[in-house]
């Protein structure tokens, strides 16, 4: 009996202390869980679910256009960008190096990050919101409580946001497993971008610094970074429908490389040309960098290879 009388206050004290510690831990490492519907004006409505953990902005986008639902998720080192154009519901993915990055429009968190990085300023405050702008003239009305936008105008396009669900979660509830695929692997995706996007993101130099090749216009540029892969960075420049120039930064010099092609000398060095069925392919290795040209004929491939400079 005496023992119980002594232990009871101790247990209560323990519960109080434990509760205080737990409360402190939750407050100091919360993440914001949101379900947002964005609308770029007419037609397109995109529902996105995201978790915001200050430096880490990760998300899941559910594209609910056309009566269908498709699901896309961001990865551990890249972010999700919900496009503003309702006519193009496809989701774009944008790599980030950190919260100081700029120029990525129509993210729920864009102005929140820009404000905290000193790259946006408050121009007016009223009620529960404030008006902010950045150096490019983009503008937004942010909720004062969490600096998330009610609407924003970026590059001339206005997007409004509706918050369907908002809750704060403890850090231990952060859905790390969500950012891996079903097999538990981090997912690395190829990103479609433009020429400035390639120059901004890539640490390697694209092999062909031009907008047209062998009579073909630059159609798209792809970028992929995989710090854990055998190829660390890769840029695919797609010219027309049938020519691609690819620059790859290998993790290490490969002692084992495809051989058996026809040797050719180009300004970039001694390479090889292969005939793969009805397609031709040129490859040259410069240390840990592989540069390739894919094309419809040997002549086209060699003409592009001759023009390559770095």
């Amino acid at each position: 009996m005496k023992t119980s009388i002594v232990l009871l206050p101790l247990a209560l004290a323990g519960l109080l202390i434990g509760g205080a510690v737990a409360s402190f831990a939750r407050e100091s490492s919360e993440v914001l869980h949101l379900v947002v519907v964005s609308n770029a004006g007419s037609g397109g409505r995109l529902a996105s679910e995201m978790w915001i953990d200050e430096g880490r902005m990760l998300g899941l986008a559910l594209d609910t256009s056309n009566g269908m639902t498709s699901r896309s998720a961001s990865g551990p080192d890249w972010l999700l960008d919900v496009p503003a154009d309702p006519a193009r519901p496809a989701l774009k993915y944008v790599y980030e190096n950190g919260p100081a990055s700029t120029g990525v429009p129509h993210r729920v968190w864009y102005f929140r990050m820009a404000l905290r990085a000193g790259q946006a300023t408050v121009v007016n405050e009223y009620g529960g919101s404030r008006l902010v702008t950045d150096a490019s003239g983009n503008m937004a009305e942010l909720r004062r409580q969490d600096d998330l936008p009610l609407w924003q105008v970026v590059n001339g396009t206005r997007v409004s946001f509706e918050y369907v669900l908002q809750e704060k979660l403890a850090a231990h509830a952060y859905p790390l497993a969500f950012f891996q695929d079903d097999g538990g692997r981090p997912t690395v995706l190829t990103v479609e971008t433009d020429w400035p996007g390639v120059l901004r993101r890539a640490s390697i130099v694209p092999a062909f610094p031009g907008s047209n090749v062998a009579g073909r216009e630059l159609r798209a540029a792809l970028y992929r970074r995989d710090s854990a892969g055998r190829t660390l960075e890769q840029i695919n420049l797609l010219y027309g429908e049938d020519v691609q120039v690819v620059t790859s930064q290998l993790a290490a010099s490969s002692a084992s490389v495809r051989s058996g092609g026809q040797a050719v000398v180009t300004p970039l060095g001694d390479g090889q040309v292969f005939q793969d069925g009805d397609r031709s392919y040129f490859m040259v290795l410069r240390g840990q960098r592989a540069i390739s040209v894919f094309g419809p004929t040997r002549d086209v491939v060699l003409r592009v290879a001759e023009a390559l400079r770095e």
Partner: protein, 193 residues
């Protein structure tokens, strides 16, 4: 019964013809395959060939060892074509980690017509991708990730040592939902004992 000389010649000729037809007439001893698979012979390049089951890698052995270690059970998927010594051949088998319309890893196989130590001995080509379920059914998001998983898993077993070789099949292909996906140009050779 004694055979006339002419009959012996006919019999020998028949045996030779029979023997010749038993050995694939395309059997070679050199590595000669297309770097990508296609939906049709005249179509555009799609998935890169990124796996080679070499050594004693006839299709049956390759699939047997793969199934034992990877355990992929689903068999549905569209027909794709491998290029083997200049001719296009439909895939011979396939396995996946999920159903036909599921997000999944998916591999297709075709046994190469190489048959000799000058190349990779007997071997089977593999093209694997990670695809997500989208309104137009499937969109490949990665060729590298599932290949790495297979290589890492098989390489855990000493009889299936993985050897990496850079072939440079990095050209991107556009998926049904307009997303572009490319491989990193590496082919992993997995030994089949």
């Amino acid at each position: 019964m004694k055979l006339a000389p002419r009959s012996v010649l006919v019999l020998l000729a028949a045996l030779l013809v029979g023997f010749a037809s038993a050995v694939p007439d395309t059997a070679r001893a050199d590595v000669n395959f297309g770097l990508y698979i296609r939906a049709s012979a005249g179509g555009v390049n799609k998935d890169p060939v990124n796996l080679a089951f070499t050594g004693n890698g006839i299709l049956g052995y390759s699939m047997g060892h793969f199934g034992h270690h990877m355990g992929w059970a689903y068999t549905g998927g569209s027909t794709m074509y491998f290029q083997d010594h200049g001719s296009w051949e439909p895939h011979q088998d396939q396995r996946a980690t999920g159903c036909d319309i599921c997000t999944r890893d998916h591999i297709r196989w075709n046994q190469s017509n190489d048959a000799g130590p000058a190349g990779w001995d007997t071997w089977t080509m593999g093209a694997v991708h990670y695809e997500v379920s989208v309104p137009c059914v499937h969109s490949s998001r990665s060729f590298n990730d599932p290949r790495n998983v297979i290589a890492d898993t098989m390489d855990n077993y000493s009889e299936h040592l993985a050897v990496w070789q850079y072939w440079g099949n990095t050209a991107a292909s556009q998926q049904c939902d307009s997303v572009w996906t490319s491989g990193d140009g590496w082919i992993v050779r997995i030994n089949i004992p």
